[in-house]
């Protein structure tokens, strides 16, 4: 289909839920109030690491207004976790706490205030244990064990993969760079705090409404930890007030609310405070990285060796996947013929890290893109040109056996280079940096070299700079979290004689617009307007399973399922209309709320009439659509993390000034070009890109999840700095279309990939402005001033990590590099017919 054949796809339509949101009618989890509802609070640990000697709840139970108090003794002794391999969490801790904020007990009471008061009346005796608050601490003290499982003392996961002979490739390079980087952890900070309402009714059935991105996984965990048949549990995801990965795990508060409802015979609501949300976390892992890459004189990469150490915090969460993601996606962007990746996730006594927008990939992306900038400088190449030359070929495999389909990265680079005025600014701004910095040994962008001698700059402390970086991201994980052969996403489409069409799908709208995309695609197939389609999402008793709103999988997977379901409905209706009009079904089209033959449109029947004919011919009209990704996991252990139906690409240029006196960075403009395959709705796509850029800016310049003596240093929205309207620059979004054969009408991922390049692009622009290297995020003013001070003292002007842990990675699994091989079969997947 060409662009002009679409009626709905590509239109800048409002989201289907926009109207409810602008009038305040959308009901988020904490907006639910049920008759007789009790309010619950959790008592959380004040210690980062301690044995629980005793918990005495007598005083809390005696408080008037308290309905129930529960501890671990009141729950089945069953641990849980999002990944089958990391079942290490307890709804309420039984023997030990592993972080400040670990839940110990819970109270249900007549109101929140009484529940809070009752929590303070619970007496806990702790036996404090040494708290391990960093990767270095945790590895230096193997005698202190946070968990008894894993790949070694305090080592959650130790992975090593090698694709081809990296040592030989590096030995043959013209330039070999070894660099060390650190990416500090940060958190999602959704505006809505997590909340849930549980109602365990007297017929033995349980309903949970929750602010979750993954109702299906919550459903599974509830069945497990409450020892109740999943068939008797219904999980409804309420509209989510911001997720970004932070509402992707099943949580203690959801389980506890259910148990309290069972005990009290009342609906129970629990709503976390903002401080609790900071401790609940599951956000960006702090990652220390060592990266060694070989280059030819022309900038080709000969091979790459990456080591990552992840500070995982107190629990497994998605950590095994996160560990792989710090290594496996980098080769999707540039030609890396041979590749070695070693990664380790370390347990510490901090809130558990997990998936945040970009899940495990912004950190190594920062390392690679900054290293490319350094290599370009040494080789005397323009950083944009260097990247442009080494973009992966479409429809090939990477060294680590990932099949890539369409690639619009070259076009993305060209577009941001042109739109930003890259070449002129690279030369012009480079001047001030070159005058102030140490000899760099390379030209600064291929412009006329020495004009700075005659071009007087005003003596402002604010130095301009411009930097570039690129990225790639998955369009949905190619394998499920738990091994199975079932669909990853399902849709039921239903139509009746009213002409109304309903879509049932387990997808969860977290603001990204999944309800809208389902309506758009269904309307496109059936020739309707989106307003004609009612979307019923995320209800485990009514909607087919969708795995959840994570890994940028929803538009592609739910979208393909919706297109299949709607196509089946259309075929059934066409058959009935064809008989009525005495034409061949193949001659019919659906458009403008009618079905007919284009050349004889006067005879076209209304959609409602067509449904009547269909119902008369077939009976009830309800059709399923199923989607599972192509089976492309690499044939090696660990090959299941990284495959995706297709990958999005983006290129980003940042222009900024850095104040030499204060170290303050002012962003002027960000240009971002994003290959999204097909624009299903430009407003929504741009919104996702703009939000990604914004969030990346926060991570690059200010956001950090840091601790002192076990406590979060800044567990409030004032102290945890995030960008406001004033820190957010003008964002210029360019959408690039490549029409991917794996995506719905050609669409790929949009909501995560664009976050990745802005962080290294900022670091590279700061270097361009001042000639300093900050190899650590966030890049705060103190680090910039420290680098300038180093330069004044004649030392290399670099601020970043200066040591690596003493750690032995396991012997690598050695696999042949698949680099450059033809892609696996395209468009072949289960449930296609």
């Amino acid at each position: 289909m060409t662009k002009n054949d679409f009626a709905v796809v590509g239109q800048p339509l409002p989201k289907v839920d926009a109207w409810a949101k602008v009038v305040g009618e959308t009901r988020y989890a904490d907006d639910l109030f049920l008759p007789r509802m009790a309010y619950a609070k959790l008592l959380r640990s004040a210690h980062a690491h301690a044995r629980i000697r005793s918990i005495d709840t007598a005083r809390a139970r005696a408080l008037p207004g308290v309905y129930a108090v529960v501890t671990a003794a009141d729950l089945p002794p069953v641990k849980f976790g999002i990944l089958p391999v990391s079942q290490d969490e307890e709804a309420l801790c039984a023997d030990k706490v592993r972080m400040v904020g670990d839940p110990l007990a819970a109270v249900a009471a007549v109101d929140e205030e009484t529940a809070d008061l009752a929590c303070r009346l619970i007496d806990v005796t702790y036996e404090p244990l040494p708290a391990l608050m960093s990767i270095f601490d945790a590895l230096a003290h193997p005698e202190v064990r946070i968990h008894e499982y894993g790949d070694g003392p305090n080592v959650h996961k130790n992975v090593a993969l090698q694709f081809g002979d990296v040592d030989t490739a590096l030995a043959g390079a013209d330039l070999v760079r070894e660099d060390v980087f650190f990416f500090e952890g940060n958190t999602h900070l959704p505006m809505e705090q997590h909340a849930a309402v549980a109602h365990w009714t007297s017929d033995g059935k349980l309903t949970l409404w929750s602010s979750t991105q993954t109702p299906h996984y919550v459903h599974r965990v509830l069945a497990k930890v409450l020892a109740t048949p999943a068939a008797h549990i219904r999980v409804i995801a309420t509209p989510v007030g911001g997720g970004f990965g932070g509402k992707t795990d099943p949580f203690s508060h959801e389980i506890v609310a259910c148990q309290l409802s069972k005990l009290t015979g009342r609906p129970v609501k629990i709503a976390l405070t903002r401080e609790e949300v900071f401790y609940t976390h599951r956000g960006r892992h702090p990652v220390l990285m060592w990266i060694k890459t070989g280059f030819t004189k022309r900038g080709d990469i000969t091979g790459c060796h990456l080591r990552t150490w992840l500070d995982g915090g107190a629990y497994g969460s998605y950590g095994v996947a996160s560990t792989f993601y710090t290594g496996v996606i980098n080769p999707v962007t540039y030609k890396i013929p041979v590749y070695k990746f070693e990664g380790a996730r370390i347990f510490t006594n901090k809130p558990a890290c997990g998936p945040k927008r970009g899940h495990g990939t912004p950190q190594p992306r920062f390392a690679l893109e900054c290293q490319l900038d350094k290599a370009a400088e040494q080789l005397g190449l323009d950083p944009a040109d260097l990247r442009r030359r080494i973009v992966v070929e479409p429809y090939t495999k990477t060294a680590n056996h990932l099949t890539v389909t369409t690639i619009g990265l070259g076009e993305c680079i060209d577009k941001v280079v042109e739109a930003s005025g890259w070449r002129a600014k690279r030369t012009r701004y480079g001047v001030t940096a070159a005058m102030g910095s140490q000899p760099t040994g390379g030209s600064r962008g291929g412009g006329a070299g020495c004009t700075h001698l005659v071009q007087p700059e005003p003596p402002s402390p604010k130095k301009p700079g411009i930097g570039i970086a690129c990225s790639a991201y998955m369009t949905g994980a190619g394998t499920a979290i738990y091994w199975n052969d079932m669909p990853h996403s399902g849709v039921i489409v239903r139509a009746d004689r009213s002409g109304g069409v309903a879509i049932l799908c387990g997808a969860t709208d977290i603001g990204q617009g999944s309800d809208s995309v389902l309506a758009y695609l269904t309307a496109e197939v059936l020739g309707l307007e989106p307003v004609d389609v009612q979307v019923f999402p995320a209800d485990t008793s009514l909607t087919p399973v969708d795995l959840g709103s994570y890994s940028s999988r929803v538009t592609l997977m739910c979208g393909m399922a919706a297109i299949q379901a709607a196509g089946r409905l259309r075929d059934a209706i066409f058959k009935a209309v064809a008989r009525k009009l005495e034409v061949d079904p193949a001659a019919l089209v659906a458009r403008e709320r009618k079905i007919g033959v284009p050349d004889d449109w006067d005879k076209a029947v209304s959609f409602a009439r067509a449904v009547e004919l269909g119902e008369a011919m077939h009976g009830v009209l309800a059709f399923p659509g199923s989607y599972a990704p192509p089976k492309r996991a690499g044939k090696y252990k660990g090959g299941g993390v990284g495959p995706s139906p297709c990958y999005s690409y983006s290129a980003c240029v940042v222009e900024l000034t850095v104040d030499e006196e204060t170290g303050t960075v002012d962003l002027r403009d960000v240009w971002i070009a994003h290959d999204i395959g097909r624009t299903l709705n430009p407003l929504l796509a741009e919104g996702q890109v703009e939000g990604s850029i914004y969030m990346g800016i926060g991570e690059a310049l200010m956001e950090e999840q840091v601790f002192r003596k076990g406590l979060h240093k800044q567990p409030s929205m004032l102290e945890y700095k995030s960008p406001t309207t004033l820190e957010t620059p003008e964002i210029h979004t360019i959408l690039v279309e490549t029409d991917d054969p794996e995506g719905p009408f050609g669409a790929k991922e949009v909501g995560q990939g664009p976050l990745l390049p802005v962080i290294p692009a900022i670091a590279n622009a700061i270097h361009h402005a001042l000639g300093i290297r900050i190899d650590e995020v966030p890049i705060t003013p103190d680090k910039i001033l420290k680098a300038l001070e180093l330069r004044r003292r004649g030392k290399p002007p670099r601020v970043g990590p200066d040591r690596l842990p003493l750690f032995t990675f396991k012997d690598p699994l050695v696999v042949e590099s698949a680099f450059g091989q033809p892609a696996d079969a395209i468009g072949v997947r289960p449930f296609q017919s």
């Binding site: 409810a20 949101k21 305040g24 009901r27 505006m191 603001g511 990204q512 914004y694 995030s722 964002i731």
Partner: protein, 159 residues
């Protein structure tokens, strides 16, 4: 200690018997069932709970109902003129300025107060007016665009 209060919210008088320390935010949501007003921090840091008191943006998580007796409170439920949306609401929906929508009520009310005082603000003035309202979804771009579009439409409607 509970007190009886009478609040004028969206041009209707509501009477309630509430604990004296209960915040305006809590009373609006829990006693008056006006759940369109959201909470993000309950510490006055994020702007999510903004309502208008006599036309001025006020953080309802820091306000006590007693202080607002006899004053005109406007929540998101009262921004539209009956069934007719405020131009800001229309523009926010049309331009995709609400993603998750959770910060949207507070931002709409803050922007409404701005446009009353400055009918044709510059983009910088809009940014400054909304600097106390955090949004984690949009990168603010579409929000600023929508405020500008609404201002333009309101100006056209006046002339």
């Amino acid at each position: 200690m509970k007190v009886r209060i009478a609040l004028t919210v969206n041009d209707e008088v509501h009477e309630a018997l509430v604990p004296v320390h209960k915040t305006l935010l809590e009373v609006l949501r829990e006693d008056l069932a006006l759940t369109g007003t959201k909470h993000g921090c309950e510490l006055g840091e994020c702007g999510t709970c903004t309502v208008l008191v006599d036309g001025q943006p006020v953080l309802s998580c820091l306000a006590l109902p007693l202080e607002t007796e006899g004053r005109r409170i406007t929540t998101i439920e009262g921004l539209a003129d009956g069934a007719r949306l405020h131009p800001l609401q229309q523009a926010f929906a049309e331009l995709g300025a609400a993603q998750c929508g959770y910060c949207t009520p507070g931002i709409l009310l803050t922007a409404a107060a701005l446009l009353r005082e400055r009918p044709s603000p510059t983009r910088q003035e809009v940014k400054e007016a909304l600097a106390g309202n955090l949004c984690r979804c949009t990168g603010y771009t579409k929000i600023l665009d929508a405020v500008e579009l609404a201002a333009l439409r309101m100006e056209r409607a006046r002339t």
